[in-house]
Symmetry: C2
Subunit: 261 residues, 2 copies
């Protein structure tokens, strides 16, 4: 029986986690260890300057979970370092209510939780839902959770690729309108952040990182392109970030002191 660790970056009480854990239970035993608060855009954290607390909580559907005051990647580290005793076969993180595409991947708590798993030698999957920015009311995580189940189930059967984070993004469509699956490369996010300067009641400035929600470059073969065409996107993410092609160019520079390659 497979053992699946479910985490997220929106906090243990988020509906996306509930939907994901429910589907994962069809694939094996599920342990939930997730942050006790929202850690969106928190990046890849390793908390070493303070100790972490872990408490047992009960989710809306009556299932038990563990909640930590650490970041998503801390939750995965805690589990891997022995807080969760049973061997973990895969870490699945999500479901994030917004897509994690392009340069989002290094900011995203959802994706960096999966990175932490892979660094520790356990397969890691991040699942995000490309819900519209103007969506009101309760999101339907059903289709994305079912796709996550199919994808994780297939990879558990066939074997995960080594040293690779599986970054899954699902369009916000009903099951029968999702056209299928595309294996994609990381596309290009277009951030539209703007500096919003305000003054507090005492006349002192403070700054919001504001602006419109990010868009992306709609290109075939990319995560963003797939989503916008109605496909589920799977992007394999590696943790060797070396820009191999740039190495040669740097090696040609006369640095003015001894250099070797």
């Amino acid at each position: 029986m497979m053992h699946i660790l479910v985490t997220n970056d929106d906090g243990v009480a988020a509906p996306g986690l509930l939907a994901l854990a429910k589907e994962m239970r069809n694939l094996g035993e599920v342990t939930i260890l997730a942050p006790d608060k929202n850690w969106s855009a928190s990046g890849h954290v390793k908390t070493m300057h303070r100790p972490l607390r872990v408490k047992k909580v009960q989710l809306e559907d009556g299932v038990s979970a563990l909640a930590s005051d650490g970041a998503p990647s801390d939750c995965v580290a805690l589990a891997q370092l022995g807080l969760v005793e049973k061997k973990i076969d895969v870490v699945v993180s999500g479901i994030n209510p917004h897509a994690n595409i392009g340069h989002d991947v290094t900011y995203s708590g959802t994706v960096t939780a999966a990175m932490e798993a892979v660094i520790g030698g356990i397969p890691g999957v991040a699942v995000s839902l490309d819900s519209p920015d103007n969506h009101l009311g309760v999101l339907d995580y059903g289709p994305s959770a079912r796709f996550a189940r199919k994808i994780v189930g297939n990879l558990l059967n066939q074997g995960f690729p080594e040293k690779t984070v599986i970054n899954v993004n699902v369009p916000y469509l009903p099951d029968d309108e999702i056209k299928g699956l595309q294996i994609t490369r990381q596309g290009l996010r277009v951030y539209r952040d703007q500096l919003d300067r305000r003054e507090d009641p005492r006349g002192r400035a403070y700054y919001w990182i504001g602006g419109d929600a990010p868009t992306g470059v709609r290109e075939d073969g990319t995560d963003y392109g797939a989503l916008k065409a109605g496909y589920v996107s799977i992007t394999p993410i590696q943790l060797d970030l070396t820009a191999y092609e740039v190495m040669e160019r740097l090696a040609e520079i006369d640095w003015g002191f001894n250099s070797e390659i």
Copy 2:
């Protein structure tokens, strides 16, 4: 005249920043905008859930700087979004008192500050010093700051490679014992984290992520290998994390529903 933004992840008062800014002043005008506290291993953060404060401070050497209560990457974002009015030619982050090699790069505040610059279209350089774990007393940032100056100076003259973070690590040696420079690939960190469970005075458990300092795999051609052989290491880091070789393998899987590549 070049305009250089200096930041770090140890906080604006850190001696490594002082040493770096001093050397950068030989290359152009320097603006310092750095966190007001330590953000080590904080990852790639974009703070959107709270506003950020920025205050003017005076450093030990009498130079003015800006300090923000945001993360290193927030400092770079604030500067790029207009808090620093003058066009920035390069962001240099450091000097971190410990090496940032292998998988450190996604955790590191030093490196993710440089990532933030590159995502925003400005060259970014991270500079770290491989000081010994057992080092006592004041670190000598002189050699690493001088190497940073040579490297940034050369790249300002010859042009930075596009979309690439320049990750510089310097061995903790006197100038004349540093053997030269190697252009390297990202090596393999070996983390030795251990879970350290303790009980507070009220008998409730808390957990430190403890254990010994990380080591690495000493391999020729890597960041870690270069450092341990006495060389300055420059690793070009890319922000396209797609595992292209894995894409084919994933495309061969029968996912049990429509799939395209």
